[in-house]
């Protein structure tokens, strides 16, 4: 009975949180929150995170973290710009996805073959990415062609979002690729003893995460109009917070839902937007975000299988 109640709370908490935020901000911002322009802003701001988070769900499902996202985004952007000179945007998109898959594979191989924790492998990519983009941005201006700014609109992002979700949702929910991630996340040893090629499925998860990161990197370039030293900064934390707010279990496993990427990203940006509309002191905004994050982890984290020695 207790467990059923707990899992019900875990299930509804992300939705309830988002609805509560929407209601609170709608009633306390003189209607500014629900103004069409503001809602459009929130959607536009959250879509890149949503896309990156969507692929990251595969990695989190098998109980890993992808810390390469921010640096990887920078690396993909810089290398794809270098390779294509931004002359042809469709080609650039393809190159971004390929480089993204490459980043994912490198992280996975370091993790799987080198038996190094995935977050450390991801951090390697993060540092390499930052180093490469800083070096390149120092020596060359990497602006996208002026006409690329016409794509910097929500409709353009939305098309990518729909395509990414249309591929990832069935892949995660209805194919072996997704199901195995959850199985590995629930009990990797049992999965391995059952004959599951754990390493192979982890590599596939990182490759998918890399592919969506490639798309996110491409859209970030379109949004800011260039490849800058700071491109992708903080993407890994944004995605992690968004997925947590979306109710993803930090330990992966069967409770992992891909909708967490959607719900969590919207919640995260609604929170930031609403607090700004309140005119809250910037330092307080960080504190409130931290408290909300902690409260979400507290409410949704499954502690039943965790051992704590206190």
């Amino acid at each position: 009975m207790e467990k059923t109640k707990y899992s019900f709370i875990k299930k509804v908490a992300p939705y309830a949180g988002l609805i509560a935020l929407v209601i609170i901000f709608s009633l306390t911002t003189d209607g500014r929150f629900v103004a069409a322009r503001n809602l459009t802003n929130i959607i536009g701001q959250s879509m890149v995170t949503m896309i990156a988070a969507c692929g990251c769900v595969f990695v989190m499902a098998h109980n890993n973290l992808d810390f390469s996202l921010g640096g990887g985004c920078a690396l993909i952007a810089a290398l794809s710009f270098r390779a294509t000179k931004a002359a042809n945007l469709p080609l650039m998109l393809v190159v971004c996805i390929l480089f993204g898959i490459g980043c994912g594979l490198i992280t996975a191989l370091i993790h799987v073959k080198g038996r190094i924790p995935a977050f450390m492998a991801g951090m390697c990519i993060m540092f390499v990415g930052r180093g490469v983009v800083e070096g390149m941005a120092t020596n060359m201006v990497m602006n996208l062609p002026a006409d690329s700014s016409r794509y910097a609109n929500n409709l353009f992002y939305l098309i990518f979002l729909i395509v990414v979700f249309a591929i990832c949702v069935p892949l995660f929910n209805y194919t072996k690729v997704g199901k195995m991630q959850k199985l590995i996340g629930s009990n990797p040893r049992a999965a391995q003893l059952s004959g599951v090629a754990v390493g192979k499925y982890k590599v596939i998860a990182f490759a998918i995460s890399g592919a969506t990161l490639g798309v996110a990197s491409f859209l970030t370039m379109i949004r800011i109009g260039s490849v800058t030293k700071t491109i992708g900064s903080g993407l890994e934390t944004d995605v992690l917070i968004a997925l947590t707010l979306g109710g993803i279990p930090l330990t992966g496993g069967t409770g992992t839902r891909i909708r967490a990427a959607f719900i969590g990203s919207v919640t995260y940006f609604v929170l930031g937007n609403g607090l700004t509309l309140w005119g809250l002191d910037a330092n307080l905004i960080y504190i409130v975000k931290g408290v909300v994050f902690l409260a979400t982890v507290f409410a949704t984290m499954d502690r039943t299988d965790q051992e704590y020695v206190l």
């Binding site: 322009r37 802003n41 602006n143 800011i224 910037a282």
Partner: protein, 369 residues
């Protein structure tokens, strides 16, 4: 459960109707400010100056602090516009920020102005300057200040310098040019240089200065384009450990904790700082634009003079009058006189005149409190 869902849906449907209340809820103009933070001395001074000025001229200010990349600054400007800001002042973190923030403002018909930065990229600069809602910008006269720092060393009889050089790709690189031109004008020579590390690694400074001292025994001055992020402490300590007092003197941008003692002991010859009023003048120019009394039909470019500190006594004055968030450099009357609604005769020349007069002596003589 069904009843609860119905109530929630009904409530959500009613919410958009409250949007109409927003139009006439506020009467005071609101200006959004996007700034890197208020945790260091400059940030605190800017925060207090702008808030004070806003109170004096009856403007509401909304801050977005802590954005260190273009994406975050773009998100902030979108949120501030949604929050009802009619003008945006920001310090672009890089050239791309100037373009994207400017574009967001232009598309929304919101005035915007840039503080503390010039735009290096010519394409972005011409785009921003072509925007109808671009009020203008202000940046420090870094080149002039660098020349002044070299002059102080030259007047002390020094002529062989090492240079702690700024990364050429960023706006502050004009300090390199200022030092080079200043040295040429003073008949001095920059014999060696190393670049400020992007990550602020102290070891780079230590290695650079150790090389200066070992390879150029006749070097008698070090020019520093920055002393922040621990650069000053690393450089000063390296000089102290490897040289004698007065043999090699330092001239730098920005002040650091303990600089007064190093002035008194003879390690430091001069420091340039005191640029916080930059944001105040940009803010007031923006207020004029939002009020419908712009200072110019086109965009404006202001130049903020820096203060050259040359002794421990001046350090104390600097800390009391300029580097003090609780002290207002300009009186309420002066601030109001720079805004059209209080002084219809205000012109751009008034701004230039006041900014030209800025010096440590002027601040002391005109102390507002």
């Amino acid at each position: 459960m069904k009843r609860l869902c119905a109530w929630m849906l009904a409530l959500l449907m009613v919410l958009p109707m409250t949007a109409y209340a927003a139009e006439d809820a506020d009467t005071a103009h609101k200006i959004g400010v996007i700034f890197y933070g208020k945790d260091d001395a400059l940030g605190q001074c800017v925060y207090e100056e702008v808030n004070h000025a806003a109170e004096v001229v009856g403007i509401e200010v909304e801050w977005a602090l802590g954005d260190y990349d273009t994406e975050s600054q773009l998100t902030s400007v979108e949120n501030l516009i949604s929050a009802g800001c009619e003008g945006i002042m920001f310090m672009p973190i890089e050239d791309a920020s100037a373009q994207k923030v400017g574009q967001a403002c232009e598309e929304s018909g919101i005035y915007f102005a840039i503080c503390f930065r010039d735009i290096l990229d010519s394409g972005i600069k011409s785009y921003v300057e072509s925007c109808e809602y671009y009020v203008g910008s202000c940046w420090e006269d870094d080149k002039g200040a660098a020349g002044d720092l070299v002059s102080v060393l030259a007047e002390d009889g020094r002529s062989v310098f090492g240079l702690e050089k700024m990364n050429p790709s960023i706006a502050l690189a004009v300090r390199n040019d200022g030092f080079a031109e200043g040295a040429e004008a003073a008949g001095a020579e920059i014999v060696a240089e190393y670049e400020v590390p992007n990550d602020g690694n102290s070891q780079t400074h230590i290695n650079g200065v150790t090389n200066f001292l070992n390879l150029y025994p006749d070097m008698d001055g070090i020019l520093m384009t920055t002393s922040s992020q621990g650069a000053a402490e690393a450089i000063v300590n390296t000089v102290k450990q490897n040289s004698e007092v007065g043999k090699v003197k330092l001239a730098m941008f920005d002040l650091y904790e303990g600089i007064a003692d190093d002035f008194a002991a003879g390690w430091v010859a001069a420091a340039a700082a005191g640029n916080s009023p930059d944001a105040l003048f940009v803010f007031l120019a923006l207020v004029n634009a939002v009020d419908g009394t712009p200072l110019s039909d086109s965009f404006i470019n202001l130049s903020q003079k820096e203060v050259i500190v040359t002794s421990a006594e001046e350090c104390a004055d600097y800390e009391k009058y300029i580097d003090n968030p609780e002290y207002q450099i300009y009186s309420d009357e002066m601030i109001q006189n720079l805004v059209g609604r209080y002084n219809p005769d205000v012109t751009l020349e008034d701004y230039t005149e006041i900014m030209e007069a800025f010096s440590l002596d002027w601040v002391k003589e005109n102390s507002a409190q």
